[in-house]
Symmetry: C2
Subunit: 375 residues, 2 copies
């Protein structure tokens, strides 16, 4: 217990009267009842989770709530990106309303980024905004999606095109639960950890190159990597909650990544989000080199590190073939980061020196993609 208390870290997201804490450390699922009861006025909770997480953690989580006298109901949805749909949004809203969750009660997302994005969106629209607690169980959700208030679902027109900004009231990141995550999903989340280094923390990236095995193994290094990532995200969000400026840097690797996710029809057997981001970050560094903004050595260093941890770094590692460059370009153009027809891209001048480029010529991107696409 003393070890737990020492190991636990708290990152505060500073947003005036909507500020909230991210608790990071081992054993937080068992401690969830206490942490929630001490912060919540109401005594009712609706827990949304998925079919992979439910058998592992739902029982323990509900037990922790009951121990504190919190009345909880739960809804288990299918696992996977396809769950971020209107169909499941409707069932979440319906469960929350059926449970008569009122203003001081809360909706909880227990799961990865899919459950977090979907549940946060539902919490944001039920009664025009209900209290919301994130209990992220994937590495990606702990270091990225559970922090910052972006919520949403996918549309046939593209990823995350429908949603709201709705900040959580609390984030509980239990670092123990990552042990049951598949190695592939852990690596995918790790791509986002590396991203924070590549955005503006060259020393963190260098530390990861040295210490990644410890991060994968668990313990202090893992907690450190997660806390550093959450702090990085919290700083950006506090400075630019609605993504009018610098928050866009968090999309490093994502413009290409989202296009690849669309091209593989969000089929997680072929590509998961973090893998798309991994390939996308390598492409962003290569494209920056091609535009004479950065040295090709930096792109090679990024590719080497991500490759070493076992992440895909090239489009030809995606099974099942990809559409031609022009089609990928269409997906990019329909992405959110487009203003009055001009392409906005996150490019870089080197490791930890990324920036928002506002008018990247489409023709250059198409030519670059043609070069890189498997023949």
């Amino acid at each position: 217990m003393t070890a737990t208390a020492t190991a636990r870290r708290t990152v505060r997201v500073d947003l005036g009267d909507r500020s909230y804490d991210i608790l990071i450390g081992p054993g937080l699922i068992s401690a969830a009842g206490r942490e929630i009861a001490s912060r919540l006025k109401g005594r009712k909770i609706a827990v949304i989770t998925d079919a992979h997480v439910a058998p592992l953690y739902l029982g323990g989580f509900m037990g922790a709530l009951q121990a504190e006298g919190i009345d909880a109901v739960s809804l288990v949805l299918p696992a996977g990106e396809k769950t971020k749909s209107f169909e499941h949004l409707i069932s979440v809203c319906d469960s929350v309303l059926a449970a008569r969750i009122e203003r001081n009660d809360a909706v909880v997302a227990l799961g990865g980024g899919v459950i977090g994005d979907l549940t946060g969106f539902a919490a944001g629209i039920v009664r025009r905004g209900s209290r919301f607690i994130q209990v992220p169980t994937s590495l990606l959700a702990q270091v990225d999606s559970s922090v910052g208030g972006k919520t949403g679902i996918n549309s046939p027109h593209g990823k995350n095109l429908i949603g709201v900004f709705h900040q959580p009231d609390l984030v509980l990141a239990d670092t123990d639960v990552l042990d049951t995550l598949s190695p592939r999903e852990f690596r995918a989340g790790y791509a986002e950890v590396a991203k924070y280094g590549l955005i503006d923390k060259p020393d963190f990236f260098a530390w990861l190159e040295k210490s990644w095995r410890d991060v994968f193994a668990g313990g202090e290094a893992r907690i450190e990597a997660i806390a550093t990532s959450c702090q990085a995200k919290a700083d950006v969000v506090a400075a630019d909650e609605r993504e009018n400026g610098q928050r866009a840097l968090l999309n490093l690797g994502h413009t290409f990544g989202h296009a690849l996710e669309a091209a593989t029809e969000y089929d997680s057997a072929r590509l998961v989000h973090g893998e798309g981001v991994s390939i996308g970050m390598v492409l962003a560094h290569q494209f920056s080199a091609r535009m004479n903004l950065a040295s090709p050595d930096d792109a090679r260093r990024v590719e080497a590190h991500l490759g070493e941890v076992g992440l895909p770094t090239k489009m030809d590692q995606i099974p099942g073939g990809l559409p031609p460059a022009e089609k990928l370009m269409d997906a990019i153009a329909q992405d959110k980061k487009v203003k009055a027809g001009k392409l906005t891209f996150i490019l870089t001048r080197g490791i930890g020196q990324s920036f928002v480029a506002d008018d990247v010529p489409q023709s250059e991107v198409i030519a670059f993609l043609k070069e890189k696409l498997p023949k």
Copy 2:
């Protein structure tokens, strides 16, 4: 043209960097292209309307946009309260995305409160918030629903239970279009006009008792009544955008009204929103008298005026029968204005002296409803 310019009124809704204008007057549909073009950076618009409004005003509105070089697409939905559903929300989102509406472009609601609430909700969630213009064509929408940023749809659990706050960027209230509104719908909107008097403007209510025939006839008195109503709503919204306090006063008559709408299954053949509000306002005054808060004379005065203009004032005027008091109570309890199980009601001490009552006993409400329900 000079007459038009003189008659036009502008009410400003003061919300910091989200402030916007409500333009009120004749001929605003034909002038829409000019008013929008001078305010909008983008050049694309998606217009959402319904099957009653489309044949009357969609052509003129699209023409006015085209004359200013604005590229517009339109979607026509079925008319009526049932259109405020997830099903139609999905089609609006889909049309807006298919039209590739970007950050500087806009979504327009051309219609009554149903189209305004649904379209505003879609605008609030597409790309996590798109620009939004209200062109309200019913009296109710002009004096109430188009102002203040509440948007949403209905759920099987109750009215307006799903939605967001999303302020419009502009409201264009063309007072000419009210001439084609059915007398029944005009009267329904008039209930909300009278509401502003009953909330805190006894002089306005007295003026309406005297001048209502002129308001119904059109011209200056109508513009005056609409501008006074918009100003009243704008003041409340500016003081309490998110309904944490005084904005709740706008719900005078609505707690009973919503329960009646639910009981008649949102069937507009039996009851439209404003009619529910009319009966609800009479009930709120009668209930206040029963609680010894106000004189029964005030309730009689409200009933007399609303009855004189042709609005229903008693539950037994609703065709088709109503459920028992306990059932109505359930609908009231599931309404948004419930905190930790206690009933919040808008009650009154007399004409223009309404207030928020936080702990109205359920038993009193049930006893009162039993008395008032048709035997």
